[in-house]
Assembly symmetry: C2
Homo-oligomer: 208 residues x 2
């Protein structure tokens, strides 16, 4: 049975033919932070049937967007090029990120995407350093240099400043809804290391 296609000679339609089905871009999101095993994927995608995950992985391998080495799945180069699209959609969707709803899943690793879409290159021209966020025992790093950003879900670099907080606090900070002083005073936020870099980070990462 041929796969369902929009049958349009249009770049957007071609993209959606490949990654427009339910769950697919969330699966890509998971793999953007590094190779994952089947079990890890199913844990971060509750509600997705195991059969469906297997089918998606098979299709994505067929499209050469995902590779499988026997133990874990990873994005191919072409698959990783979806990052721009994922980040653009997440930037748009971030406006709809309200208070976490009861029962909603949350993973610290998703903040790697948040760092990308919240990063304001134009405000970061003279910022240099490695920032490590510690969110519920998960560490996420951002390396800023020359107005560019690199991120990692592992401990890839030696951090200049370490910022500990939960997801809600970080979101409120990046939106300017919460003052760092207050957050630190209340114990919701802890900063150690280069405080100047921390202050720069508040300027450089801006949700809307």
């Amino acid at each position: 049975m041929a796969k369902r296609s929009y049958q349009q000679h249009c770049a957007l339609a071609k993209a959606l033919d490949l990654v427009g089905e339910r769950w697919t871009l969330l699966l890509v999101r998971e793999l953007l932070t590094g190779p994952k095993r089947y079990k890890q994927l199913i844990e971060n995608l509750p509600g997705m049937g195991t059969n469906l995950l297997a089918a998606r992985l098979r299709d994505l391998q067929g499209a050469e967007l995902v590779a499988h080495d026997g133990t874990s799945y990873s994005l191919t180069e072409r698959g990783a090029e979806l990052e721009e699209s994922v980040v653009a959609l997440a930037r748009w969707g971030s406006a709809a990120l309200a208070e976490p709803i009861d029962g909603e899943l949350w993973r610290a690793s998703w903040n790697v995407i948040a760092l990308k879409y919240a990063f304001r290159s134009d405000l970061a021209k003279d910022v240099v350093g490695v920032i490590e966020y510690r969110i519920d025992d998960t560490r996420v790093q951002a390396r800023i240099k020359n107005g560019t950003i690199a991120t990692s879900a592992e401990e890839s670099w030696k951090p200049d400043v370490v910022i500990e907080a939960n997801g809600e606090t970080l979101l409120a900070l990046s939106r300017g809804e919460l003052k760092p002083k207050e957050a630190e005073a209340s114990g919701a936020l802890a900063v150690s290391g280069d405080r100047r870099l921390f202050r720069s980070s508040l300027r450089v990462f801006r949700a809307k």
Copy 2:
């Protein structure tokens, strides 16, 4: 009945909750080139049932992404902010744009999106002018200034150069697979007006 949701506290998941369903982003693509009537939409989205189009339009109005004035549908400001995401996905998908397959739909207005994703701001710093493409009787304009681009599916500006060709020819040109001289000699391409701006356009619009 509550609408199906990913139930994740994640910006990407929120975006996909709103516009991740089948046909939705293609519908947004149609509205990105200006307000459209119901009939125009259904004509550019063959395969989509009329009931489904009506349901999508209703949902999008509920999410305040689309407005309806009685005769035509248009994007709200928030809806128009999806352009970045649509362009990013189209840029990624453009690599999969091969020869048009028999039976595939094609619309000249989709080239407005193509102009956006193919535009190389860094190569356009000193390019100024209005380019009009005439593709199968449809006119698409691009206005370039200071490394930025504005596009239009209507005749919004007075063109400095007019480029006539079909979609395949333009795609081949933008990919560098076809030389302008040959295209003009064969009659597949006609250029009138500022030829210098035409040459600049070949540099500035680059598919991959």
